[in-house]
Symmetry: C2
Subunit: 233 residues, 2 copies
Amino acid sequence: MSQPLYQVVYDEIIKRIVDGRYPPGNMLPSEFDLGAELGVSQGTARKALTELEKRKIVERRQGRGTFVTLRTPENSMFHFFRLRSPEGEQVVPEPGTEKVVRRQSNKNERGALFGNPRSVFEISRTRNFRGEPLSQEVSVVPTDLFPGLPDRAPLPNTLYVLFQQAYSCVIIWAEDSLRAGVMGKELAEDLGVDASKPVLVAERKSYDLQGRVVELRTSTFITDNVSYSVRMD
Amino acid sequence: MSQPLYQVVYDEIIKRIVDGRYPPGNMLPSEFDLGAELGVSQGTARKALTELEKRKIVERRQGRGTFVTLRTPENSMFHFFRLRSPEGEQVVPEPGTEKVVRRQSNKNERGALFGNPRSVFEISRTRNFRGEPLSQEVSVVPTDLFPGLPDRAPLPNTLYVLFQQAYSCVIIWAEDSLRAGVMGKELAEDLGVDASKPVLVAERKSYDLQGRVVELRTSTFITDNVSYSVRMD
DNA sequence: TATACTTATTCTTATATAAGAGTCAATATA
DNA sequence: TATATTGACTCTTATATAAGAATAAGTATA
């Protein structure tokens, strides 16, 4: 056997989520039905679902069913926004300014993003926390994947919810590269703080269900009142 | 049923690792033997082992066996030291200075560390990367848990290996809180760099197999040539 | 309205078979 | 004779299936 049966089932379910047969938030067929349909036992279908659950692609509830994970503002925040207050609570930022422009990609962006796009949208946003300036975030995405994005302004607080609901693009994982830096003059004016302020800079690559890099994001955080929390296990 | 059978098996194996019956690096009994001994099927023993593997408490290799995870310099680095070079490679730092002192704990340390210790060891170390100063790390641990620690200088590059091998204390997870800051005068002299340099400050709590907080660590990184990498999935 | 019943789901456990990996002796080869 | 090479054997974990238990929600009933 070249490939385990449950792996075949896993791939088939992914395919069905991607092509819209199992839309986000909807219930999948039961383990028995899925097994019957694909000609495997309930246990094998179950094993595939366990793998999907591990990657947070589906959610299961005993007695209820298995559901395609729906990106909500809550779980998107919890999963991809790692700032915590000094008391250890999840930080829920308040929206600040927002600007969306279409422009040509630079060489770096073209090389990193899926499809090597020449044209990208740049989404720049500032956020506040407890009335103080907190961060600037600049997201770059291919225009191909997100047609009409600028028309949707003002954008929701969590982009990934929009990506999933309006564009069937499901972000399942991301990688941040963190560095210390100084605010810089331009950004300091935007946020109304001192230009020499030390800041935490996070460069992110976001990957969707099909393994495509669909977003590059550079976030600049003022960590006076928050910290970026990382759990290693 | 109050508790699944596999959970009972899980707890029993943890107990045996903690009390030394299954020492780090050693092979566990096979799934069949484990099941037979505890009066469950191979599959149930297997389910428990799967959970242990998920938390990196054991490692399994088909055809070989299941082994209690041994903290090696390699996997300790890989798992708990998240600096990457610009090319994306794991950073292996070179050791710099080292100092271990015994002192009274402060209120914060006493409250956070296991056993509310009055006496702690403070381990201060600097590290370099490609000949340039990279970081300072200050670890604070209860003297109770690590008797004779200062006599073991020079300490190995990775503390967690020592903790496991010499003190049977297995770190299985840790949490970092990251902030941007400035180097400061004292540390700048230590590392021989400019005092106004922006730095990445990581405050860590380390947890062992029994859920105890056994170490508080404050790391100060110069991120000119490295970045702190975080994967969210 | 409260309670029992029904139905549909995932969860737990058990068993059988497949596949990976080392050991060791028999065999071929220089 | 010394040294590879092969192959059988036995250990291990991995995969697949099936049956019953637990859970949740709706439905009938007193």
